[in-house]
């Protein structure tokens, strides 16, 4: 199979998601009935060539997060982690989006998720005007892209990864 999950985004370019990141995120899937929601930050690199963005790292759930079956709270610790990663990578690796899990096979975002993503677009600091959001379902990972706009932000589904077929 191919090594990476690749999504061509019209007007932006190729977004590449590394195999190892997918494997790590899949390990958080809520498959058995007691597993709680996990989440964190997506870390990536903005590229000059061979694609526009490579998403290849993440922050795992922190002790200060709250994890329930159908809820998840992402604490401030993620911010500290991300800034450390950014600095230690000589500003190469940075915050490019958010991820969390859902206890459903093919995930869809909830209104709570959408509010969080909009706040992230408006209030957080990042390179460019886009953030990427993964929801890791039981069988699929789906990827949405948020674009910051003056009036209404745009959030659209841009890709789907089927874990059963990889």
């Amino acid at each position: 199979m191919t090594n990476e999950w690749e999504i061509e985004v019209h007007g932006y370019g190729l977004v590449r998601i590394s195999k190892s990141l997918i494997e790590h995120l899949l390990s958080y899937r809520q498959i058995n009935s007691s597993a709680a929601e996990s989440g964190g930050v997506l870390i990536g690199k903005h590229l000059n060539s061979n694609g526009t963005l490579l998403i290849d790292d993440y922050t795992p759930p922190q002790p200060s997060d709250r994890q329930g079956r159908y809820e998840y709270y992402r604490s401030d610790d993620h911010n500290r982690l991300v800034q450390k990663i950014w600095q230690e990578s000589q500003r190469k690796s940075t915050y490019v989006g958010l991820w969390h899990t859902h206890a459903e096979p093919i995930p869809n975002y909830s209104s709570v998720d959408k509010r969080d993503w909009n706040i992230a677009l408006n209030k957080s600091m990042y390179e460019g005007d886009r953030l990427f959001y993964f929801i890791v379902g039981q069988t699929h990972i789906r990827c949405w892209m948020g674009t910051k706009r003056a009036v209404f932000n745009k959030i659209e589904l841009i890709g789907e990864y089927n874990a059963n077929l990889a």
Binding site: G13, N48, S49, T52, I106, E160, N162, L165
Partner: protein, 577 residues
Amino acid sequence: MSHEELEEEIRKISIQCLISCEKGASEKVWNFSLKGRKIWNVSLDFSYDFPNRLPFAKLLDKDDVGILAHVNRACTVCVEESDSIVINTSNPSKVIEYFLEEIVKTLDHASVRINQVELTDEYEGYFQHDAIGDVNSFYVATDKFEIITLSVIPIRSGYLYRQNHHYHFPVLLLNQRNEYPTHFSNVKKAISTIINIIHLPLDTPVLPPSNAEKLTAKYIYSIFDNISPENKSALNEFLEKTNPKKEFFILLSMPRQANERTQLLLQYIHKDDRPHPCAEYSDQWELRFYTMQRNHREYLLERGGAKNILSNKKVAIVGCGSVGSEIAFMLAKTGIGELTLIDNDDLKVDNIYRHRLGGSYLNYELEKLKTSTPKVKHNSKVVALQFALQKDLPYVKVTAIKKVFEKVLNEEYIVNSDLVIIAVGSPSLNLKFNIDLKGRDVKHAIFCWNEAAGYGGHSVRLNLDTCCLNCLYTYEDGYSNICKLNLLDSDQKISKNLTGCAGVFTPFSYLDSSQTAILAANQSVQLLLNQDLTSKAASWKGKGTGSLKTTARYDAINLVDEFAISRAELCKVCNDK
């Protein structure tokens, strides 16, 4: 930009690597001395479009041409452009600065000798401007010495001919067994006079001649030696049996880092007979060469590794009307290996505004029969499609089955397909096929059809192990003849009958069929690439051309809608199995 403005911008340049600059051979050419790993002398040729178009860069140090990667024999420096740089045309001197710095980076990188491998990788491109032309090739060059076939046409004009040279123009290269896709394009016409030539595979890549020199017989003779012992003895055996001639062709190849070998077709011409150029050096030869236009399967299907997966897949399309024929073309263009087309109808003039095929596949000629009255014989849709597809694409295998649908469902080509697409356009036939397929070993099927009068269309991809088409007709209180996908209210008279009882057709346009076909083709590819094997119903909705009553779903959905299908609890077909 005027010459004065250009000069003004150039005078503004201040970058570390710039040593000096001066006006060159013309008003729009400037020469620069740049400091990198060594001193690079470069000229920039500014077009009138500058700064909207970047200048042409040439390396003035000829000694370095033929040694440095990314500089071709015409001395042009090929600067690798970054994907994400947008030229800020409002500041031309900055554009020049950026460009000069990139040139230095390119030349510096090229001057590290280990990177010469990048030059040998682009050997064909290095000489491209010198080539007489392109030769089409179905031959796959490996590291093995072989006698291969070259199709040629004699040249009977021009200077050399008048000088009494009898020579040929190369047209097509084939392997020893003369294999090529016979139905593709007009390839057959390219094969007339056939000669045997040798493929001479060099063992290691070699550098071009130094000092930007042309390819010469002397240079080529000096690199012939670079072959493996096995190939050398095969070559010697060949040379012993070869008599002197006025013309020789040699396909020269050498390894590249990635797949594919560098290839050049060399042609040696002289007015008298001479020994084979590999046997004996002679400066009397007129040497010309041609670059390769690769036609073989691996090369054409290479782009995108995923497509190689598709080339092993088999799809059967039941129904080759307006939707089915369109799907056949779309799938063939994705690189699918094998299509089986099933339809019993002939292609008639009535079809041509709806069908993928047009008038060039109709027949107006009378067939002269001895016994009965002459009649115009129609082409069948499947045979015409098979012909059209194989003419368009070299590596798709198409089987045409002219039969009524009901008779084929048990056939091997249906059962052995990776996917069966039903595009027969009749809801009741769909439901019948659904029962039949469910009873057989077919796992994946797509049903697709149009709504009437441009109101939309549907494509339903099914994993028949888990659910079926009938599930879309099964409600909480049992079966109904109304599909959950419907965009138009049932019980409306929507069929038009223009020509009496012989030709009933539902009014919709070619564009409708294409939209439905796109849905089906996308669902097919996702399935065949193993990206999505689930059951899904996709619909598109259009404005419609009539005043027909639409359903609540019509109002509720987006222009394109897709949802997952799950088994209906009361589905008779699923429960029967």
